[in-house]
Each structure stands twice: as structure tokens, then as C-alpha cells.
């Protein structure tokens, strides 16, 4: 499901399926969920019946009645088509996922230590299975023994294998993925039908889609407006009779269908489905539409420093020698001590020494060098080489090593170390034969472009809070550099939870990401909790979204997609209501210009005849749904502007545009209708 594999919505298979679905969706029990379109369907049925009656009686004006009836049906079908199109890509993806659910077998470990081979669907929660290289993992679970590389591309679309191992935050495995190397023992954590893959299929397919709170509210508004227009049209007939200008049912139904908000009514569910779909295209699974909406409302983003704001690894940026030591000497020692250090920090030291002091990395053979690895006891690493004993480590560890317990390092060294700490860096002291040489300045590197994104978020009124285990001094420095609004230093899971609750008590909505089991309570408490797919089962269950790419920065995109969803709804609602102005000017003069020829003065579009005017309005009303399907599916273009600026912009486009566009559209259709001799 990565970008490369994603399916275009204009895929011919999707369109074919959508066309069939739009007919299937005519079923009145399904239509009733959408009051606006249900009214159109009822109107279509009524005009169809009258049309048959007129046909039987060979009544005059059949051509007009027939066309009106057809276009009313098209209106319903177009709305159904929009919804079916929105569902299309999800359904296609569900089909692909189902293929991943191919029949696999499981090696179940029995209590007596024997292994039996059973079909995967027979597995139950808490069963233990053994999976070896080349086998599919038969169900969701947790690695309880061993370590293996796993190909999860069936779920995430990412072809690079990932490591799964017992204990820690990388223990969760997903059914349907494949072990590439080694052997692991897994405790199954879900019963058949409740697995992650099952859930994923039903989510992308939209099978359990429920209306979101905001969608419900909007539906009430639309239903209310529909009743208002129903009243206006139904009572218009008595007024018309009083005015000696009674109208046919075809005309009255046309007026009603044009006035009720069919544009937004027809596209509303498509917008919702497309919003979920857009998240899926970003490889994020939302467990409910409610979560997507909440994402748009988020006031506070909690972002983990490591991996989200910073590159995740500290990098050496400077060598600061003590007096009497040259920079090159320090750099050389630092490089030597790091040659066997495979951590990103270690590698960055080698790179810095090479780039800044032209010191080439040397290949040291084990017989001439003895590498001392980092241990929790010594908290140092280094090398014994050529009679030299080079060490690097935290200042107190080096102090102990140089002077024995209780001794003090030179004042100059302490000052340098403190200065680096204050500036948010991490100091590493290098010593050669128990003589301190100087300090390596390791720095957190803020990811490129983050400052701009935080500025954009701020412009939209969203506060960013950086969460870090660093001390407050370091945290403050990085926070300043990254441009976040606030930070939480030395954060424990409890602190995080307290912060979320505090924000929520102020009425704010909070979004966060997390992957560890200790993140689970906070993920559950947050309004939007995005769990990393690489994380633990507990975290995935606590959050209301799962990011299959396990990229914490994506939280920002999730917020943007939520906002885009709400904006699209608002824009099309405004557009739909604004459209009515032009429709009145098309239909009302057409209805009454026979009884009152002066009414033609209101025919500002100069539509040719009453019939062509009404027909054009009905055709416009139907076609505008089709025209707007791409917008509904893709969403209104997202911009990070303040609410005031967004409102100004969107009101101009969709409000004013909604008033002007139909005047032009109806006029053009009228010209075409007359040219084709349809009315």
C-alpha cells in the first residue's frame, strides 16, 4: 500500500464497479440514511409514475416530462456514483489484502513440548507457535523468544525487512508477514477474525463506516433545510392556484430538487470516505472516522524529540581540546577511539575528524589494537593500540578512570563540559593514557524544515510540545532551535499523561504518537493517538490510528488531512446553499411568466423558454455533482493559514463562487438545450 503500489481512483476497474454500485445503492432502505437524496429519489419515483400515466394518456409535453424525470434519476445516480467512487479504491485495496490472508499453517507448540501442524484459522489467543525462516507468521502476536528479520511488505508496503525480537518495544508481529531469517517463538494475541489484517480489511473497505459526529450535525442541517424547502414548494402550489397559475408536479418536483442541498447531500459521504482513504494512502489506518475529525480539531501536538524533531542521533560537531593539546591531536585520539564504535554517534566522530582535519580512517587489525566496548559499568569505550590507552566517555566516568574514585578533573575540563551541557549538547571526554585531551561536542541535529512546519502549525493555532528525556537545559536549547512552542523535559510516561490531562481540562484536543507499552495509557487518553506499527501490541490497541510506516513526523500530516476533510465539507456546503440563488432566478420566472408576462424581468439569465429554463436548472443541479466528485475525493487544497485568512479565502471561492457559477452554468446549458432542440 505504499505510494508505488497505490491504485489510481480513475482505474477502469474501480469505475466499472462504482457504476454498478450506484445502481445497487438505489435501494430505498439504504437511501433513507441520506435524507436529501432520499427526497430526490421519492421525487423521481413520483414523476416516473406520472410520466407513465401521461404516456398512457398520450398527454402533450411528454418530451419535457421525460427529460425532467430522467435527469432527476441521474441526480440520484450521480450522488450514488460519487459515494461508490470514494469506496472504490478502498475496496480494491481490501481485495489485495485478502490475498495476503492466504491459507497458512501454524506450528503450534503443545504444553508437552511437541509441535503440531494446524491450519492458521484454528489458532486461538495465547497459543504459542514457532515460525522459521521462509514461513508466514500465522497470526498477530508477540515474540517471546528469539530474534528474526521479518518482511512486512504485505501490510506496510515497505520492502526492507524489519527486526522483531523478544522483549522491548519491537516484539509485536503481524499475521500475514513473513520471517526471512532465524526462528522465533510467538504468543498469539488475537482470535481469528479479530486480527490486525482483518481489521485493516474492514477499515479500508469502509464496511463498518459510521457517521462521524460532525457529519451527523451537518446531516441535520441539510435535513432541516430540506424540510424548509419542502414547505416552500408544497405551499407554493396554493399560492399559485390563488394567482391563477397552477403548476404541474414535474415543475414543482424540479424546483424542490434544485433547492434542496443535493450537491453537498450527494457528496457528503464521499467526502468522509475519501478522507479516510487519504489517510490510508499515507499509510495511516484510522480506527474510526471520529479520529480523523478530531485530528482536524487538534490544539496541541505532543511530539517526541527523537526521530520527530531531531534526526534521532547526536552528531559530533566540534573537538574542544584542553590547553596544551592541539585540535588535531584530540581529533586523532577521538577518531581512534571510535573506529570500532558502530553507533551513529561514533560514526559521526570519524566523519567529523575526516572532514575537518583530513584524518583518514585507519584499518586497525585486531592484533595491533584491542577494542574496549562500552559497558554499563565503565560507561566508556575506547581502544588499546600501539601502547596507548585511549578512552572516551561521560565526564564522571573518565574522571574515575583518570584519577580513581573521588578525584576531580581539571577545572578547565569541567567548565567546557558544563558549557556544552548548557548549550543543549552532549560532551564526551577523550583521554589518552589517563591524560584528558579534550571534549567532543555531540549535538542533536534538528531535522531540516521542521521549524517551517512548526511555524505553519502555529499560524493555524496549533501548539507544539516537544517531549524528551533530556534535562531541561538541553531540552530548552533544542526546543528553541526547532521552534516548538513548549517542551516537557525528563519526561516520564506519567508526566506525559499529566500534560495531556492538563491540556484537555482547558478544553484542548491533544494528539501524540507513541510506540512503547508505557506510552499506551497516554495514547488512549489523547484525542488522537497515533501508534507506530513497529511498536508494541499494547500501544497499537491504545491508539486510534496506526502508522504503518512508523514515522512519528506523520502526525503533522494526519492533522492536515483532518483539517482538509472538514474544510471540504464546509466548502461544498457553502457552495451548495449559495447555488440556490441562481436556481430561483431560473425557475421562478419560468413558472409564472405565463400567468404574469412581467415576471420575465426576473429572468436575468435570459433563458430561452420556461421549459428550457427549468430543464437547464435541473441538468445543472445533476451535473454539478459529477463535476465536483474530484474535489470531494481529493479534498480542498490545504493551506496553513490562520482561521481568519482561510475563512476569507474560502468564502470568496465557495460562497461568492457558489452564487456566480450557476448563473453561468445554467445559461450555458440553456444554450445547449436549445441548440439540441431538447426544449
Amino acid at each position: 500500500m505504499s505510494k508505488e503500489k497505490s491504485i489510481s481512483i480513475w482505474d477502469s476497474k474501480i469505475i466499472t464497479r462504482a457504476l454498478l454500485d450506484s445502481l445497487r445503492k438505489l435501494n430505498p432502505t439504504a437511501m433513507m440514511k441520506n435524507p436529501v437524496m432520499f427526497v430526490v429519489e421519492v421525487g423521481s419515483v413520483i414523476t416516473s409514475i406520472l410520466l407513465i400515466r401521461d404516456l398512457a394518456a398520450s398527454a402533450p409535453g411528454i418530451g419535457f416530462s421525460l427529460q425532467i424525470t430522467l435527469w432527476l434519476w441521474f441526480t440520484v445516480l450521480f450522488a450514488n456514483f460519487a459515494e461508490a467512487m470514494a469506496e472504490g479504491r478502498g475496496k480494491a485495496q481490501a481485495d489485495t489484502l485478502r490475498k495476503a490472508k492466504t491459507e497458512t499453517t501454524a506450528n503450534r507448540l503443545l504444553p508437552n513440548g511437541k509441535v503440531e501442524i494446524i491450519a492458521a484459522p484454528q489458532l486461538r489467543k495465547d497459543d504459542i507457535v514457532i515460525v522459521s525462516a521462509g514461513e508466514f507468521i500465522p497470526g498477530d502476536g508477540e515474540v517471546i523468544e528469539g530474534v528474526a528479520s521479518v518482511d512486512e511488505s504485505a501490510i506496510t508496503g515497505e520492502s526492507a525487512p524489519v527486526i522483531r525480537e523478544a522483549g522491548g518495544d519491537r516484539s509485536a508481529v503481524t499475521g500475514g508477514t513473513r520471517v526471512l531469517s532465524d526462528q522465533i517463538k510467538i504468543r498469539i494475541s488475537s482470535n481469528p477474525g479479530e486480527t490486525f489484517l482483518d481489521r485493516m480489511i474492514s477499515l479500508v473497505e469502509g464496511a463498518e463506516r459510521q457517521k462521524t459526529p460532525n457529519e451527523i450535525a451537518l446531516n441535520i442541517l441539510l435535513a432541516g433545510l430540506t424540510i424548509v424547502f419542502l414547505l416552500a414548494v408544497v405551499t407554493l402550489q396554493p399560492f399559485a392556484i390563488y394567482s391563477s397559475a397552477p403548476q404541474t408536479v414535474f415543475v414543482l418536483v424540479s424546483l424542490l430538487v434544485c433547492l434542496i442541498p443535493t450537491t453537498i447531500g450527494g457528496l457528503l459521504s464521499a467526502i468522509g470516505i475519501a478522507g479516510m482513504d487519504r489517510l490510508i494512502q499515507h499509510n495511516v489506518l484510522a480506527m474510526s472516522g471520529r479520529a480523523v475529525e478530531a485530528a482536524g480539531d487538534v490544539n496541541t501536538l505532543l511530539l517526541d524529540k527523537t526521530g520527530t524533531i531531531t534526526l534521532g542521533n547526536r552528531q559530533a560537531t566540534e573537538f574542544i581540546p584542553l590547553s596544551g593539546v592541539s585540535e588535531t591531536e584530540l581529533a586523532d585520539a577521538a577518531q581512534l577511539s571510535s573506529l570500532a564504535d558502530e553507533t551513529p554517534e561514533g560514526r559521526s566522530i570519524i566523519v567529523l575528524a575526516k572532514e575537518k582535519y583530513k584524518l583518514r580512517g585507519r584499518e586497525l587489525t585486531p592484533h595491533e589494537a584491542h577494542f574496549i566496548p562500552f559497558t554499563a559499568q565503565t560507561r566508556m569505550s575506547g581502544v588499546n593500540y600501539d601502547g596507548r590507552e585511549i578512552r572516551k566517555g561521560a565526564v564522571d566516568a573518565i574522571e574515575r578512570y583518570v584519577n580513581g574514585n573521588g578525584a576531580q578533573a581539571p577545572r578547565e575540563l569541567r567548565e567546557t563540559v558544563e558549557r556544552i551541557s548548557r548549550a543543549g549538547g552532549t560532551p564526551l571526554v577523550v583521554a589518552d593514557n589517563k591524560r584528558p585531551l579534550g571534549v567532543i561536542y555531540l549535538k542533536d541535529i534538528v531535522k531540516g524544515g521542521m521549524k517551517e512546519r512548526f511555524d505553519q502549525l502555529r499560524a493555524m493555532g496549533i501548539k507544539t510540545v516537544m517531549i524528551t528525556g533530556d534535562n531541561p537545559l538541553t531540552a530548552a536549547t533544542i526546543a528553541r532551535e526547532a521552534g516548538v512552542d513548549d517542551f516537557l523535559a525528563e519526561a516520564t510516561p506519567e508526566d506525559k499523561m499529566a500534560l495531556i490531562k492538563r491540556e484537555q481540562a482547558e478544553g484542548k484536543l491533544v494528539a501524540m504518537t507513541g510506540d512503547g507499552t508505557n506510552d499506551a495509557p497516554a495514547l488512549a487518553q489523547a484525542d488522537v493517538g497515533v501508534a507506530m506499527n513497529s511498536g508494541t501490541q499494547a500501544a497499537k490497541e491504545a491508539g486510534n490510528m496506526v502508522d504503518l510506516d512508523s514515522n512519528p513526523t506523520k502526525l503533522i500530516e494526519v492533522v492536515e488531512i483532518g483539517k482538509q476533510l472538514l474544510m471540504t465539507r464546509g466548502a461544498l456546503t457553502t457552495f451548495s446553499i449559495a447555488n440556490d440563488v441562481a436556481k430561483y432566478f431560473a425557475i421562478i420566472p419560468a413558472m409564472f411568466s405565463v400567468a404574469f408576462p412581467v415576471m420575465n424581468e426576473l429572468n436575468v439569465m435570459k433563458l430561452a423558454t420556461p421549459q428550457s429554463a427549468i430543464l437547464s436548472a435541473v441538468i445543472f443541479n445533476a451535473l454539478i455533482i459529477v463535476v465536483l466528485i474530484p474535489l470531494a475525493l481529493k479534498g480542498v487544497k490545504y493551506r496553513s493559514l490562520s482561521a481568519a485568512a482561510l475563512l476569507r479565502r474560502n468564502l470568496l471561492i465557495y460562497g461568492l463562487g457558489g452564487i456566480v457559477v450557476p448563473f453561468i452554468g445554467i445559461k450555458l446549458i440553456d444554450v445547449a438545450v436549445v441548440a439540441l432542440g431538447l426544449a
Binding site: L221, A223, I227, F229, A245, I577, A578, I588, A643
Partner: protein, 578 residues
């Protein structure tokens, strides 16, 4: 249109603008139960009232209890007023020995005055005794207005407060609205009117000998009564029920251009002040001004159209001199008082229907079709241009909620009104209040228009004008305005009952969902404002609010209006009148 006319309109508006802030601050203090300069005088009276009635002034009410108190108070008021009319012949203060009032008219009048409508299907000076006028009608003028203010304050509290289930105490709000707001203003207002020549007495009617006898008619009866006291509350409380049938066109109700200005000012003053109270109580004075701005815009559009339509006169009288000059007002003077002229008649008609007042100083029936469309449309929009005291405020707030909901999504968040999320329940209640108007107006008018026996037979005019007359009657009733288009004989069983029902529906069926909405908003927590918050303080928001009011109103009523005033206007241009 003349410069002089426009200056008078601007002077009127400047007066309203000038008092908005002081009145708003004063009312916010009154209803927050903070100290005001009137406290030394009024607090003892207030406490006495509570002691006598057993009201616990510290008790807070949930919206249901608040609504129940308001409804039961109105029900008791309505029954009392009905009985008073039915028994007036046997009660004191009836020097003209006026008879008891027959049931359908008494019902209509009781509904009319308890709903702050003051639709009058009777001729007051030949129907209502002084006791009925003073103890019945004037009292209702006070309490129905006070009730409206109380409801508006309850709604504002709902917006302003956080996570609180109660909206205040109805009895306290109503008592304070009466004692601190209405009584002092009316006292001063009545004296000002007396200074201009408005009568205030309990005398029997004068019979005067005509200087110039008209055939058999040698004497004329000059009606008398306690007019000034009722006139003041009629305007300050946006009631509009005249002491005399001619209402504010009668020289004893509205003798001079200055009294006319004072009366028009009184229609808008409290409602304009409430916009500032809204800003003050919600902590966002700019929001109050934005609402004021939206109202002001709608006011100027209305008055401009009405003034223009009336001043340009009747195209069918082309050839006669209709120009304004030193000797004549010019324009369409049919049904207007010479002492007010075109500008002050158009202004009065606009103001009285912007608000739900319903007092008239000219006959709307005689306006040109477009001139008459303005008062009709004003009422149809829900009388939210300053509006009836209190009623205008909660009416416009419903539109604010809708505007925020419709456009609010466009900023990419669940719509928020001053931090309160607008959710399904709120939209449902707002839509219910919006539905009442078209439902009542359109259905009753539709029935009347196709019922020759009891509907169209009462019309004095045919064609589109006849439709406008029926439409106006039900619009005025539902909108609790009370002004009449006239031209329709409405004192019949059908119109008395149907308009009576329309008045009750228009008042109480709006209030219940409105209070439910207020209660629900009040119990919500508020999202603190940020750059992402939907702005409700800007000119853009005021424009949006105006658009929503106009579009919702226009979309609902455009079809029927097109067959009424609009086609009538087009036909008049073509040389046909009705």
C-alpha cells in the same frame, strides 16, 4: 429622497449608536447582579417582591426549569388577560361602558399581548376599557418584554459560561428587567411624550361640536385615556399595541416629529444595547460590535429601499407633480401623516419591523409594493435587526450559531462559537427554531389563500396585493410583530384563531429549542481561542452573518414573495394596480 430626509435617518441612527455602549454596560451589570446607581432605590423593592412571592433569588435554574417558569408565567398571564376582557363590563374604570369582548377576539388579544406581538384585531378605543388597557394590556407590555430580555440574557449566559448546567433564575431576571430596565426608561419616556402633547387621563371621551358640520354629523368623539404611560412601554418594550386604532399615526399617541423620533429611538435602544451586553458578558466586546454591525447593515439596506420606493412615488401617476418641495412631501403619501412625511414614515416602518415592535405611524398597506416588501421581509428574516427586546438578540444568536456552523467548517475545524463547539444537538435545536417560521407562516397563508369561504373573502384587495395582505397578517403574527398590513378584515373566527395560534407558535415554539440550545452550550467546556479559532469579531464575520440571514430568509420566502409584492411591483411598472 432629500438630504433632509437622510439627515433625519442618520440622526436617528447616531442616537441609537450613542446609547449602545452605556445601555449595554448598564444591562450587563443589572443581570450580573452588580451594583448600579439605582440599587439604593430598587433593591428594597426587589427584595420585597421576592419575600412576597417566595422567590429564592440565589437559586439557579437549569434550562428546563427556566423555560417551565417562563411558560407557566405566560400561561397564567394569558388566562388572566382573557378573563379580564371577558368580564370588563362588570369591572371598574370603564367610563364608556364598553361591553365584554367575544371569545375569539379575546383569545386573539390575550395571545397577542402575552407573546409581545400586540396584533390588534379590534378597535381599541371602542372595545377596551381603561382597566383592560392598564391592568391587562400595559402590564403584559411590561412582563412580555421583560420575559424576552430575560431569555436573551439566559442565552448569553449559555454562551459565556463554561461547564455550568444552569442559566440563571427566570424570576430574578424578569424582575430586574422590569425594575431596572423597563420601568425607569418608560417613566422618563412617558414624561417626555407628555411634554410633546401625548394625553394621560382617565376621563370619559370628549364630544366636541364640529366647527364645520359634515351633513348630519355635527359632533365628534375624541377618545381619551392613560395614553402616555402605555405609549412609552409600547415602544421601549417593542410591543407596538396602540392605545388607539391609528396607533402612532394618532396625534394623541405621536403628536410631533420629536415624539416620533423618541418613539423610534425607544424601539431600538434596548435591543442595540443588548448587542453590547452580549460582548460584555462573553468577554468579547468586538463580537458584540460585529453583531451590531451586521444589524446596522441590514437596517440601512431596508430603510434605503423603503425610503427610495416611497419617495419616488407611483409611476402610474406620472404627469402629476410628485416631487418633494417646500409645500409637499412628494412621493407616495397615501396612508402617511403629513407631519412625518416620507422619510420618517419609511424609517418608522423599517424600524418597527426590524424590531418586533409593530407600532405604525403610516399604513404599510398603502406603501408601494417594494416599500411594503421591506417591512414584510424584515419580519420574515426573523426580526433580528436589533429586533424585539431580547427576542431580537436570541433570534440573531440562532443565526450566529448557524453561520458559524455552515462556514466554520471551512477553517478546517469543528465549528466553534466563542470556544463552544457546535455539534449535532445544537444544530438540531437551531434548525427547529428556524423551521417554525416557514412552517407557521406558509401553511396558514396557504390555507387562507385557497379558502374563499373564510380566507380570501376577508380581503379588501385582489391579486398579488391580496396575497400580500394574508401573508403579512400571518408573518406579523408568527414574528410577534403585531403591525398590520391592513386591508384585511381579520376580526373573524378563522383569522383570530389562526393568527392567535401563529403568535403562540412563533413565540413559544421558538423559545423552547432556543433555551435547550442555550442550556447545552452552557454545559460545554470552551476551547481557548487561538489563531485557528473561527473569528466572530471581524467585519468579515458580520458580512457572513448578514449573508446567512438573507440567504436563509430569501430562500424560504422568495417563491411566495415573488407572487406577492414582487409581481405586484412589476405589474405596477407595467401600469396595473390592485
Amino acid at each position: 429622497m432629500t438630504l433632509n430626509g437622510w439627515l433625519q435617518i442618520l440622526l436617528f441612527f447616531a442616537l441609537v449608536l450613542a446609547v449602545t455602549k452605556p445601555l449595554g454596560v448598564f444591562m450587563a451589570r443589572v443581570f450580573n447582579r452588580e451594583r448600579t446607581f439605582l440599587d439604593p432605590l430598587l433593591r428594597p423593592i426587589e427584595r420585597l417582591i421576592y419575600r412576597l412571592t417566595g422567590v429564592d433569588e440565589t437559586r439557579e435554574m437549569r434550562w428546563t426549569e427556566y423555560g417551565a417558569a417562563m411558560l407557566s408565567f405566560s400561561a397564567v398571564s394569558m388566562v388572566a388577560l382573557y378573563l379580564l376582557q371577558r368580564l370588563q363590563a362588570w369591572l371598574p374604570f370603564n367610563p364608556q361602558n364598553l361591553a365584554n369582548i367575544e371569545p375569539s377576539s379575546a383569545f386573539n388579544t390575550a395571545a397577542s399581548f402575552t407573546t409581545n406581538t400586540n396584533w390588534q384585531s379590534y378597535l381599541p378605543e371602542t372595545t377596551m376599557s381603561y382597566l383592560t388597557q392598564m391592568a391587562g394590556l400595559t402590564v403584559q407590555n411590561f412582563v412580555s418584554a421583560a420575559g424576552g430580555i430575560a431569555l436573551a440574557i439566559a442565552f448569553i449566559r449559555g454562551i459565556a459560561q463554561r461547564k455550568k448546567d444552569t442559566l440563571g433564575n427566570f424570576w430574578v431576571d424578569m424582575t430586574r428587567a422590569t425594575l431596572w430596565v423597563l420601568l425607569p426608561f418608560c417613566l422618563v419616556g412617558a414624561l417626555a411624550l407628555v411634554s410633546q402633547g401625548v394625553v394621560q387621563n382617565l376621563k370619559p371621551y370628549d364630544a366636541v361640536t364640529l366647527l364645520d358640520p359634515q351633513g348630519e354629523v355635527k359632533t365628534q368623539t375624541i377618545a381619551q385615556g392613560p395614553v402616555a404611560s402605555q405609549e412609552a412601554i409600547k415602544m421601549w418594550g417593542t410591543n407596538g399595541g396602540g392605545f388607539f386604532n391609528a396607533n402612532s399615526a394618532h396625534p394623541f399617541e405621536n403628536p410631533t416629529p420629536l415624539s416620533n423620533l423618541l418613539e423610534m429611538f425607544a424601539i431600538f435602544a434596548i435591543s442595540a444595547g443588548l448587542t453590547y451586553t452580549l460582548g460584555q458578558m462573553t468577554g468579547s466586546p468586538k463580537h458584540g460590535w460585529a453583531v451590531f454591525g451586521a444589524m446596522a447593515l441590514l437596517f440601512f439596506v431596508g430603510v434605503s429601499v423603503a425610503y427610495w420606493a416611497e419617495a419616488r412615488g407611483n409611476p402610474m401617476l406620472a404627469g402629476t407633480d410628485q416631487a418633494a418641495s417646500a409645500l409637499q412631501s412628494g412621493g407616495n403619501m397615501e396612508g402617511k401623516e403629513v407631519r412625518f412625511g416620507i422619510a420618517n414614515s419609511a424609517l418608522f416602518a423599517t424600524a418597527t419591523t426590524d424590531a418586533s415592535c409593530g407600532a405604525v405611524n403610516s399604513m404599510h398597506d398603502s406603501f408601494t409594493p417594494l416599500g411594503g416588501l421591506v417591512p414584510l421581509a424584515n419580519i420574515m428574516l426573523g426580526e433580528v435587526v436589533f429586533g424585539g427586546v431580547g427576542a431580537g438578540m436570541y433570534g440573531v444568536l440562532i443565526y450566529v450559531v448557524l453561520a458559524v456552523f455552515i462556514a466554520g467548517l471551512m477553517v478546517g475545524r469543528t465549528p466553534e462559537y466563542l470556544g463552544k463547539k457546535i455539534e449535532a444537538y445544537d444544530v438540531k435545536m437551531a434548525m427547529l427554531t428556524v423551521l417554525i417560521f416557514p412552517m407557521t407562516i406558509l401553511i396558514f397563508t396557504a390555507i387562507s389563500s385557497v379558502s374563499p369561504a373564510f380566507g380570501t373573502s376577508q380581503l379588501n384587495n385582489s391579486g398579488p396585493h391580496g396575497l400580500s395582505e394574508m401573508l403579512y397578517a400571518f408573518t406579523s403574527g408568527t414574528g410577534n410583530n403585531g403591525s398590520a398590513f391592513a386591508g384585511i378584515s381579520a376580526n373573524t373566527n378563522w383569522y383570530n384563531s389562526a393568527i392567535g395560534a401563529a403568535m403562540l407558535l412563533g413565540r413559544f415554539f421558538m423559545i423552547i429549542p432556543m433555551l435547550a440550545l442555550a442550556g447545552n452550550l452552557g454545559s460545554k467546556k470552551a476551547v481557548p481561542p487561538s489563531l485557528g479559532t473561527f473569528p466572530v469579531t471581524t467585519p468579515l464575520f458580520a458580512t457572513l452573518l448578514v449573508s446567512v440571514i438573507v440567504i436563509v430568509g430569501a430562500l424560504t420566502f422568495f417563491p411566495v414573495l415573488s407572487l406577492g409584492p414582487i409581481v405586484e411591483h412589476l405589474l405596477m411598472q407595467a401600469g396595473q394596480t390592485f
